[in-house]
């Protein structure tokens, strides 16, 4: 425990000052990233009240407690407005756990290693893209672990969504109607293959002009099953991805317009392609990136893997029928960057602005809200993250370390009061399993070509 050298509001004043002066380094008592580089313990970077929910709330809430409608006002300033409303009005309960001090649990091990290895090597080119020395494509890890601008913040998320060279998520989604019923249920697989920005130090098949290949294919229910899309992302973030799709109605792969990224893909769904990873679009198709604040937050940044449960599916609660929310664990995140951006490349977008709360430790979002063109809050896209270890179930990476990924998503359209409740599961209909590594599998030819989506479509 630190000596209470600073009063309770020191952190708040410090965050305000950093924001106003544009000082970007994370950490209140000391710069945080050198600590991470030097063993990952961030305790010395923050005062106790930013690492202990009990101290922050002056004893009103402790690890093991649940945030409920009865006590949520105590942590109102630690939640985005929609999460607060979910707890206050919809019966959501959030379990509070200890804050992690070891930042390494917030990353896949290889990604953190690449981040540390490559720190300081990234720069933003005249065209707005991120380059490694020699104007080469980025070489893996966070390009800007201690970002100084909004562009650097969003680049950290955009350049590697899943933080693995290959991710394959078997996903199950339930779309909750305003009456709390499970109106729709979809199974699909979402796969990401990094072409550049890879952790293995290579450029995939010399495709240096590409950032990633990403495909999604629905496996259930019957009327959607067989729908498959392949999105090939150019490295140039000014360009829209190339989009090819297989729709069962057409029985063939066709090219699709790709700039409509704010449309519901299937009935009942609340998220758009643009919402993926809070950075679903090429970063330079958005603009007016601004760091508008820094603050502590409650975030589901660790301990959310339900590996001991059937198909890794967490329990549900809340809402009119007890099915609206995943059971989740949040902890006090000492410092988040609050980033705002506008869809400048999409003048007809229904979204007028997005606000993202980004954990300075791993540069991932703990909360993400979008606002409509009138400025009213519209949707929340909240993710849970975790090392993949739960009880006796441990999913390990190639080096034997516990692996890491997202675990759940809440996509909540508060204007229509529809919720998409999404789970990263062990497997989904169609026999597909989640993978965080390609291993020896030829995933490019299996999932990332037009021939592949012809096969995935039925």
């Amino acid at each position: 425990m630190h000596i209470r050298k600073y009063d309770f509001n020191y952190s708040r004043r410090m965050f305000m000052e950093k924001t106003l002066k544009g000082i970007a380094s994370a950490g209140v008592l000391a710069p945080m990233w050198p600590l991470i580089a030097n063993g990952a313990d961030i305790s010395k970077a923050y005062p106790d009240e930013l690492l202990s929910i009990e101290m922050y709330t002056k004893g009103k809430i402790k690890p093991g407690d649940f945030i409920t409608a009865a006590n949520v006002d105590v942590v109102k300033d630690l939640l985005d407005p929609i999460s607060y409303m979910q707890v206050k009005e919809m019966g959501r309960r959030i379990e509070i756990v200890e804050s992690v001090k070891d930042a390494s649990v917030l990353f896949p091990n290889a990604f953190l290693e690449a981040t540390l290895k490559n720190q300081g090597k990234a720069e933003i080119g005249a065209d707005g893209n991120i380059y490694a020395p020699g104007k080469k494509a980025w070489i893996g890890g966070l390009p800007f672990p201690d970002p100084k601008t909004g562009e650097e913040v969003i680049a950290n998320i955009t350049l590697s969504w899943g933080r693995h060279d290959y991710c394959q998520y078997a996903i199950r989604q339930w779309d909750i109607a305003p009456d709390g019923s499970e109106a729709y249920q979809y199974d699909f697989v979402w796969a990401e293959l990094q072409a550049t920005g890879r952790l293995d130090g290579t450029v995939f098949q010399n495709k240096a002009d590409m950032l990633r290949f990403q495909s999604v294919w629905f496996t259930a229910p019957n009327d959607i099953g067989g729908t498959a899309f392949l999105s090939s992302w150019h490295y140039d973030q000014n360009k829209f991805p190339d989009l090819y799709g297989y729709l069962p109605a057409f029985k063939r792969v066709r090219q699709f317009p790709t700039n409509q990224r704010f449309e519901p893909l299937v009935p009942g769904v609340t998220w758009f392609l643009s919402d993926a990873w809070a950075a679903g679009d090429p970063m330079l198709t958005w603009g007016n990136y601004k760091i508008v604040g820094r603050q502590p937050m409650l975030g589901a940044v660790a301990g959310n893997f339900s590996g001991s449960k059937k198909n890794w599916e967490a329990g549900t609660h809340g809402g009119p029928k007890g099915k609206t929310f995943w059971d989740s664990k949040m902890q006090l995140v000492p410092e988040c960057i609050v980033l705002e951006a506008e869809p400048t490349g999409y003048p007809r977008s229904p979204v007028g602005k997005k606000r993202i709360w980004i954990d300075t430790r791993n540069q991932l979002f703990v909360a993400y809200n979008t606002f409509d063109r009138r400025g009213d809050v519209w949707k929340s896209f909240e993710a849970g993250w975790s090392r993949y270890e739960d009880g006796g179930t441990v999913i390990k990476d190639a080096n034997g370390n516990p692996d890491w990924s997202w675990t759940y998503l809440h996509s909540h359209d508060v204007q229509s009061n529809r919720m998409s409740r999404i789970m990263h599961t062990e497997s989904c209909s169609g026999g597909y399993k989640s993978e965080l590594s390609a291993g020896s599998d030829d995933v490019y030819n299996k999932f990332m070509t037009t021939t592949a989506i012809q096969r995935l479509g039925t």
Partner: protein, 641 residues
């Protein structure tokens, strides 16, 4: 079956299949076997009073008194006058369609390289229709399905099933539209089994989409437009090999059993072949034939390109007169003795029959060598002949001549070629007076052709948010040398001509308002140099009931079609509004507004209205008037599991 029962049934099926496959579902997850399906009620309620005129019950001449004037061929002089009323009872249907459809889709992951995909489709039609009743007119019309209507069986000469993966009866069909094994190894994909193959970017316009024919038995072309031909393309056993040459280049090839396009049977709701014809389909002679094709697709700079080649049997086939082989003589001791039929005519014909050494019934042996069959379900007057020839895009006068010149036995009945519409009418009326109705027998044959195709695409990058931004433009064209078409005379020699088919396709999403998701638009234009959208040669377009195509002349400038379609999802996609319009530059218009409601994951309701009309010009000059009678509101209610 209630929902509880269906859930139970699903569980039971899963358990049985899992047990049979030896692959119990993985504990805590999903196994290698998965299945799903749906049950769907489909109906089409008639909003207009018209029956399908190509059916007996909708024949335009039923109950209509028609003046006939028979003459001695090839004279234009009418000698034998009478008034004929076609006796087939007019049908009166409230529904064009009503049936229940089920589908079960199965997927089995054999290994990381092998997958098995299959599906079973089943349809039951309770036949609530006011059907044509052949007994009402004592019809003895020969051959399959010209008596009691048959809604699903596809009759071919020689018997047997045209499709080894299909079993059908009068009111049901069960088939396996999909059953294949995928083998994937690196960039190589081999798909072996029963499958559909579709090519091209154009929707509805089948320019590069040449591998498979279409099946019109299930709501013809009037089904839900947003599904394009997914339920219509005829699957076939075959091998498809695809190879991803590079990130942007792909080679695709197939060898597939030839399966023909399937038309609705006579006297079923969406029949398009006049039911006074008897079709003798010789598909069986071609059932062992193999179609081949290859396509390469990729990009050059900002342009997408593709090229195809197919060496195939044209699945639509071609038709021509054929011997009826029906030995049924002219009726009565003296043929069709009716007021106005003079002794002279009776004497002349009697003389012919005497020459044959027989009596009047012996004309049956002659008729059997001609394309005609005596039956009250046939044509009864020259007016009916001319009217239906125009509707079928055939030449009334030369069609008669071809039936005479190509079948010498007709001379034994004193039939002679004519050189005017008037003479044709006199001759036709004479034989209809004598016969009491003649059916025409036509045979369907198939021919190989080579299809060469090219396509290119370009994505317009405009000002963000502008109407042109992200507009995808595709241009597709095929060239078929020496393509064979049905002769508009139904003569033995088919029309043979090179054909070009070209299409321009433009599609994009555009947001008009923040309150609604983007609207998806498709605009298409197609030009065919020789035939209409259904493959009928344009030289037969433009006749009238009064004048044959020999008099009016056909269309010689090709056919042109425009499509404008859009989909407008509502927020959350629970509702979606669709609209499709197809315009034939000769004046035909098909409109299909539709709405789709998906209140939850299990149920989907789709309603659409089919409106077809000739908005300008001669109905027989445009392709769409063939379904102009079908003014209907269709409703589909699906439950998926």
């Amino acid at each position: 079956m209630d929902l509880q029962s269906m859930k139970f049934a699903k569980s039971a099926v899963v358990a049985v299949i899992a047990a049979m496959s030896g692959n119990a579902l993985a504990d805590g997850g999903f196994g290698n076997l998965n299945f799903s399906g749906f049950l769907r009620f489909e109906s089409a309620y008639k909003l207009g009073g018209d029956e399908n005129p190509f059916n007996q019950g909708g024949n335009l001449f039923n109950g209509v008194a028609v003046e006939r004037s028979g003459g001695i061929p090839p004279s234009e002089v009418g000698l034998f006058n009478d008034v004929e009323t076609r006796q087939v009872a007019e049908t009166d249907n409230d529904f064009n369609l009503m049936y229940v459809r089920g589908r079960l889709d199965l997927g089995y992951k054999i290994s990381s390289n092998f997958n098995l995909i299959g599906s079973v489709r089943a349809i039951f039609d309770p036949v609530i229709y006011d059907e044509f009743n052949p007994r009402q007119v004592d019809s003895q019309a020969c051959c399959n399905f010209y008596q009691e209507p048959n809604y699903f069986e596809y009759a071919i000469e020689g018997g047997g099933r045209a499709n080894p993966m299909e079993w059908a009866g009068r009111d049901y069909m069960v088939d396996i539209p999909t059953l294949y094994v995928d083998y994937q190894n690196g960039p190589l994909l081999i798909r072996a089994g029963n499958q559909q193959i579709a090519w091209g970017q154009a929707l509805f316009f089948r320019v590069l989409d040449v591998p498979n024919g279409l099946d019109f038995r299930r709501h013809s072309i009037l089904d839900f437009a947003s599904e394009e031909y997914s339920d219509k393309r005829v699957p076939a056993l075959g091998l498809r090999v695809s190879y991803q040459l590079s990130e942007s280049w792909e080679l695709d090839s197939f060898a597939q059993k030839f399966q023909s396009t399937i038309y609705s049977n006579a006297n079923t709701p969406y029949n398009v072949i006049a039911s006074q014809f008897t079709v003798r389909d010789y598909y069986d002679d071609y059932s062992d034939k193999i179609n081949y094709g290859a396509r390469i697709r990729g990009s050059i700079g900002d342009f997408g390109v593709q090229a195809i080649y197919a060496y195939r049997y044209n699945p639509d086939g071609v038709f021509r007169w054929t011997k009826s082989d029906v030995n049924r003589g002219l009726p009565g001791e003296l043929p069709n003795v009716i007021p106005g039929l003079t002794d002279n005519l009776g004497n002349i014909l009697q003389g012919v029959v005497d020459l044959l050494g027989g009596s009047i019934p012996a004309t049956g042996a002659i008729l059997a060598q001609t394309p005609f069959e005596v039956d009250p379900t046939g044509v009864h007057s020259a007016e009916e002949w001319f009217t239906y020839a125009a509707m079928a895009r055939l030449d009334a006068r030369e069609g008669l001549n071809a039936s005479i010149e190509d079948f010498p036995a007709t001379a034994l009945l004193l039939a002679q070629p004519v050189d005017s519409d008037e003479a044709a009418r006199r001759e036709l009326d004479l034989f209809f007076q004598l016969s009491g109705g003649l059916r025409g027998h036509i045979e369907r044959q198939y021919f190989r052709e080579r299809v060469f195709g090219l396509g290119t695409s370009y994505v317009v990058l405009g000002e963000p948010g502008s109407f042109l931004d992200q507009l995808i433009i595709n241009l597709e064209a095929t060239y078929v040398p020496d393509r064979k078409f049905t002769n508009i005379t139904l003569g033995q020699k088919f029309i043979e001509h090179d054909e070009w088919t070209t299409a321009l396709v433009m599609e994009k999403y555009h947001r008009f308002t923040q309150a609604f998701p983007a609207t998806y638009f498709v605009f298409q234009y197609m030009h065919k140099s020789e035939s209409d959208i259904f493959g009928r040669h344009l030289s037969g377009f433009g006749a009238t009931p009064e004048e044959s195509i020999s008099t009016t002349g056909g269309i010689d400038h090709g056919s042109n079609y425009l499509v404008l379609a859009f989909q407008q999802p509502f927020p959350s996609l629970v509702w979606r509004a669709d609209f499709a319009a197809l315009y034939d530059a000769e004046g035909g218009l098909l409109l299909q507004p539709a709405v789709r409601w998906k209140p939850n994951g299990n149920f989907t309701v789709e309603a659409f209205y089919n409106y077809i009309d000739t908005v300008s010009g001669n109905p027989n000059s445009n392709a769409l008037s063939s379904a102009e009678w079908a003014d209907e509101l269709a409703l589909r209610v699906s439950y998926q599991f």
